[in-house]
Symmetry: C4
């Protein structure tokens, strides 16, 4: 297998699509958002990307094995913006892998004529969120203004540590390719899978590029998570040790 | 030395052999099973695979050094199924090594005309086992049905974390090569080397492909391990700290 | 993106320049010193170096993303020594990256005709400093004498552990290229960002190669840090746990 | 710089030399032994090996920098066995580095016509040693017999974990090149730098290949270490925490 191995599943014509990336990360905000788009909108699997930088792992669904990969789905509504949605269960596990995979992702985006890139993710606040703001970062002033009009918050020196992983590199490497790119980061505690933050991010994206999705399934998951939070708070009041972030991150 | 370096020891003709892999892993179930086959059946060493991804290590047997490697043995009974058995003391120690080694293993299997792949391993339950079920995963529905007929359990979303390491990649990369592959995972506590789980896996394999082996030596080791468990439980009752998994994993 | 990817921003003619390196390290002494030079002297960005060995990260400034990189600025005063200043926020994260990046840095230095190399850094003493000595290491006896005349301390077997990272490799690899190189290490506690140590290093460099800079902004930061130290000492007296080095290293 | 970069310092003719390797390891036994040979016997530096797999580090001696490397010295006595002695302060820091460096070392040995390889090291016993036995491992039965005649101990399944690092790979890779190789492992506690164990190893080597060295300097260092041990035992009796292995390993 090559270091980066592209499986070509389908080659539909896309009309000036935008790339929407949602891989695992803080609060799984980006992953939840991208997967919600794929659940709610008609889409077609167009590419699988395998890599020796992914974990040496297969996932098992009903006894059938699927090698670790990232997937591109094409969304081509009769009206409105074509989307190329990048989702998956893994990120690369070292620096060279992160750079190489992101380059591979952008090569595929380029094949489909992607005009703009939206990386979706979460930004940890360390506390449970009341108001779900969405923080932004871009590669061009013009793109920044567009996002501000849709209510994206731009704060000096935030996020403080910059943006790490594929979402960060999608900005950095798109800029070097002169493709306008942005990252939409939903505020989230960082302790829990956060469907509400994912919804906040999608509502912004919806306002910027326009699509019709129903949020009830995300809202249902949000209710489940609030139930989890309640239980944890009870546990803490009973002075029993609270579950570790690690556990929580994978609840829900 | 090359990154993956194949030593050709012998080249017997095999008749539509199946690959049986048993490298170190949870409870050493796969390793015990593969090594038991080689102890009980006449076999011939055909390939050694060295790799810069194995530990920089030699094993010492009676003062003689052997560089870390994986070995392929051919089993060619007068009647019944030819086997190509992959065993060894090491797995790769990083992602690229896992992918590259598994590709190398499948290239060798291809040379010998392997028709089906059986990866043997253990699946940890976290508790001592009464009933030794064998969990399955495959690359084709047809293979799944064959295994179900022999009593392999297929459970939705199990194993939850998928399958990691060579056993997982044998499934994932065989599927991409259109070679039917399966993984037989004996339930095991995960705390101890588990000969009983290895026997449960072999009894399934025996039922699927057919061979004649005696299990008394495995049963003897199982008795030794139960002795170990008894001792550990006594120690725990005496509130002395129980040996770490790490220690236990290498008892027996 | 290549493993080491050079962005050519400008190509001014430099007259026998010296390379001054200040990347992150102990007490951020070298980084503070190099950045202070760039704040105080007129300079021009000439090169950016990107690498797959840098963290997969973008920094965000006022909403705009910049991919992790190291930067070369040219300083060309009407009178006096031309400088090529190497600064940035990152070091490589593995051995091959350190070697490859340093080689790349020296290739760029060679392009601009660099005659001598000055690596700036800190050497940890484990205690708060009264007298800010600057420790030296070089690749030639002649260079050592020059530095001794300017007050650089050379002590047998110091620093005991040698010099690690880009600063160390700039010495080691320059020597192999027959380019005289030195490392100026300001003594620092190792617990805090240390502007005073950076000033001590710059004063030596100023004496050796000559330039005119004002130190008031560094002195202001030094006052802030002393305020931090006072607070920490108070906290310690109150038996509250003292902040971890890690935290402190990034204060200021 | 290349991944493995050989600096050719001198090219004396050697008469069927043996390679003697002593790089850092358990109790620094091999390193002490090899360095003692170089102190006691006339030798000439013939090769330096640099590698991107060594730490990114220079050592500083009296202010002068030397890039991390391994060194080959030639020992050519008027009478008796020619030696090629491999010493240094570092081992590679990952698997590929270990394999690649050892291959490079054996290429250099081959250039000089090396007929036999002696890897020197220590084997940890976990307790302070009274009787300094030397454990052996080889690649041929014939070599084993030779060593047994000189008092080397060969014990079934010892060392239990095999031999790791350059010493182990020198056996494994020499065997694949059909060069007889052995490893002489002095028993040592594993907690301290152990000059006595180094002397025990050298006395065996002296008996096997013959050379004249004086051991008084090693004996002096052994006395210093016993002083250290005494102090530690006192500290322990005073229930103060004993120094960590790490510290101890670098005492002396």
């Amino acid at each position: 297998m090559d270091e980066f191995d592209i499986e070509r599943v389908a080659d539909p014509d896309l009309n000036e699509p935008v790339l929407v990336e949602g891989l695992p990360g803080v609060g799984h905000v980006g992953k939840l958002a991208a997967e919600h788009l794929l659940e709610e909108l008609e889409s077609e699997l167009v590419r699988r990307v395998y890599s020796t930088h992914f974990p040496p792992q297969v996932s098992i669904d009903d006894g059938q094995a699927q090698l670790a990969c990232a997937e591109f789905h094409a969304v081509t509504p009769e009206e409105g913006q074509d989307l190329l949605v990048l989702s998956g269960d893994h990120q690369a596990q070292n620096n060279q892998g992160h750079y190489g995979l992101t380059d591979t992702f952008l090569d595929i985006a380029d094949e489909f004529g992607v005009q703009r890139v939206f990386a979706l993710g979460g930004v940890p606040t360390g506390e449970l969120i009341e108001e779900y703001d969405v923080l932004g970062a871009t590669t061009t002033e013009e793109f920044k203004e567009t996002l501000e009009e849709s209510g994206v918050a731009f704060r000096e020196d935030e996020p403080a540590g910059g943006i790490v992983g594929v979402s960060g590199l999608l900005l950095g490497l798109s800029k070097r390719r002169d493709v306008p790119a942005s990252c939409l980061m939903g505020e989230t505690s960082g302790y829990l899978v956060d469907p509400k933050s994912a919804q906040a991010v999608l509502e912004i994206l919806q306002d910027v590029i326009g699509f019709e999705v129903d949020y009830s399934s995300l809202e249902d998951r949000a209710d489940e998570m609030e139930e989890v939070v309640r239980k944890i708070q009870e546990m803490e009041q009973q002075n029993s040790p609270s579950p570790a972030d690690e556990d929580l991150r994978y609840i829900g």
